[in-house]
């Protein structure tokens, strides 16, 4: 630790800058530290102005591992002193990096609502969406993601087809209309000539009316076609969304696991899933067999449900399962009088549920 400064050096520097003797400086530092300790004991918090504040925090009991043997141990609830630097200290220390700011990096977490919005927007404005799509395509992060990109592409194609249909319809309508007017323009003089012989003025009116009617019909048809097209789009999207859960075959595959000596749910969870925080899933699956969340008999067979996604990339169903499992664990803890843990897991349940939406 070459960059550590000793206490003596601090005292020396203090007496140098203030002009007091080293003895006085040391007495001051000692008294200040004693004062802080005293405060911490009495009030649970203390501070050195312009430097930072100290606070005594409660640490809840938790399960840990013996770093040497890997044997699980329970760390009892205790208190510890935390330090929060004042703004002046924080800024002074961070001076070198102060100009840096955090920035958004693509969208990695998928949220249902924005996706639907995106699609709706894509229908409204066709071209501007192409650019972000490219960006997405460059970094396909997972199978799920690719799926969505393809989905958006088909959406785009649909939109293009729709636009084409409208354009052709519109041009067809224009052509027929101009044709008709030409025809009437031609036929009208003939009719005026014929007027003398046969008084068929009403007929001319009728043909004019006919024209109007046809134009209306055409407009209506166009409208209808557009609606149909949109309905088709919506249906397609629905179908696609329906398909997705099926594509990832319902992974409620259940495997068996035999409990070994000194293993708890979270140890097993870490072995099976790679993460210990998924253990409520196992507990939920085996709820009928074993009710206390903290005790497990050696050599019981456990049913271990598989995740829908992967441990790093959970699907919404996983989050939902985790939420209900955590709620169950919370209930179980409550039954055994462990209200503190029950509260913890009720909170986890809420967290998972939020993620599942």
């Amino acid at each position: 630790m070459s960059n550590k400064v000793t206490y003596n050096e601090i005292i020396e520097a203090l007496s140098r800058t203030t002009g007091f003797s080293k003895n006085k400086g040391e007495a001051f530092a000692k008294a200040l530290i004693a004062e802080i300790k005293d405060e911490l004991q009495k009030n649970g918090k203390a501070s050195i102005t312009n430097f930072g504040s100290f606070k005594v925090k409660d640490v809840a009991e938790r399960q840990g591992q013996n770093p040497q043997t890997g044997e699980p141990i329970t760390i009892p609830a205790h208190k510890r002193v935390t330090f929060t630097p004042y703004k002046a200290l924080r800024e002074e220390v961070n001076k070198k990096y102060a100009h840096l700011e955090s920035e958004l990096i693509g969208e990695k977490k998928e949220k249902a609502a924005p996706v639907i919005q995106e699609k709706a927007e894509a229908v409204q404005r066709e071209t501007p969406d192409v650019e972000p799509e490219k960006v997405v395509e460059e970094e396909p992060k997972s199978f799920h993601r690719k799926e969505r990109v393809r989905g958006n592409n088909t959406g785009l194609i649909m939109v293009a087809v729709l636009v084409l249909v409208i354009v052709t319809l519109a041009s067809a309508w224009f052509l027929t209309r101009t044709n008709d007017t030409e025809q009437t323009a031609v036929s009208e003089p003939v009719q005026t000539e014929q007027q003398a012989m046969t008084s068929d003025q009403p007929e001319a009116d009728e043909s004019a009316n006919d024209l109007d009617n046809r134009a209306d019909e055409l407009i209506e048809e166009e409208e209808r076609l557009r609606q149909e097209e949109e309905e088709r789009l919506v249906r397609l999207e629905d179908a696609r969304e329906d398909q997705q859960p099926e594509q990832t075959p319902v992974a409620q595959n259940i495997s068996d696991y035999q409990v070994q000596q000194d293993e708890w749910y979270w140890v097993i969870s870490r072995k099976v899933y790679g993460k210990s925080e998924f253990w409520p899933l196992i507990f939920q699956q085996n709820f009928s067999k074993d009710r206390h969340p903290d005790s497990l008999e050696t050599r019981t067979n456990l049913e271990v449900p598989a995740l829908m996604g992967s441990a790093e990339n959970l699907t919404k169903e996983d989050y939902k399962n985790l939420s209900s499992a955590s709620a169950l664990v919370s209930l179980a803890y409550k039954n055994f009088g462990r209200d503190d843990k029950a509260e913890d897991y009720a909170r986890f349940a809420k967290k998972w549920e939020r993620l599942s939406q």
């Binding site: 630790m1 960059n3 550590k4 400064v5 000793t6 206490y7 601090i10 520097a13 203090l14 800058t17 203030t18 007091f20 006085k24 400086g25 001051f28 008294a31 200040l32 530290i33 004062e35 802080i36 300790k37 405060e39 911490l40 004991q41 009030n43 203390a46 050195i48 102005t49 312009n50 430097f51 930072g52 100290f54 005594v56 205790h78 208190k79 510890r80 002193v81 935390t82 330090f83 630097p85 002046a88 200290l89 924080r90 002074e92 220390v93 961070n94 070198k96 990096y97 840096l100 700011e101 955090s102 920035e103 958004l104 990096i105 693509g106 969208e107 990695k108 977490k109 949220k111 924005p114």
Partner: protein, 95 residues
Amino acid sequence: MTKTEVLRKLADQLDLTQSETEELYDSFAEGLTTLLANNRGFTLPGLGSFHSEVRPEHKSYNPHYEQMMMIPPKKVVHFSQSSTIKEEINEGSDE
């Protein structure tokens, strides 16, 4: 307890005037800040040790934007409590 209260108490203990104590107090805090800013760690006996270190750039989820963000590197102060204060504090809770 406010700074003035601390200063009054310390001045009494050390036989100094309050302004002298304040001078010591301020230059003490300033000295510690400079040390940490210059990457030097130190220990205040009986209280704990301080050092500063660079927290590297990392990705993190920003709940406001509902997106991942790249958090730039930052230099932060670390504190670890001394074993004596740890014992003292936890003794108090048992009683």
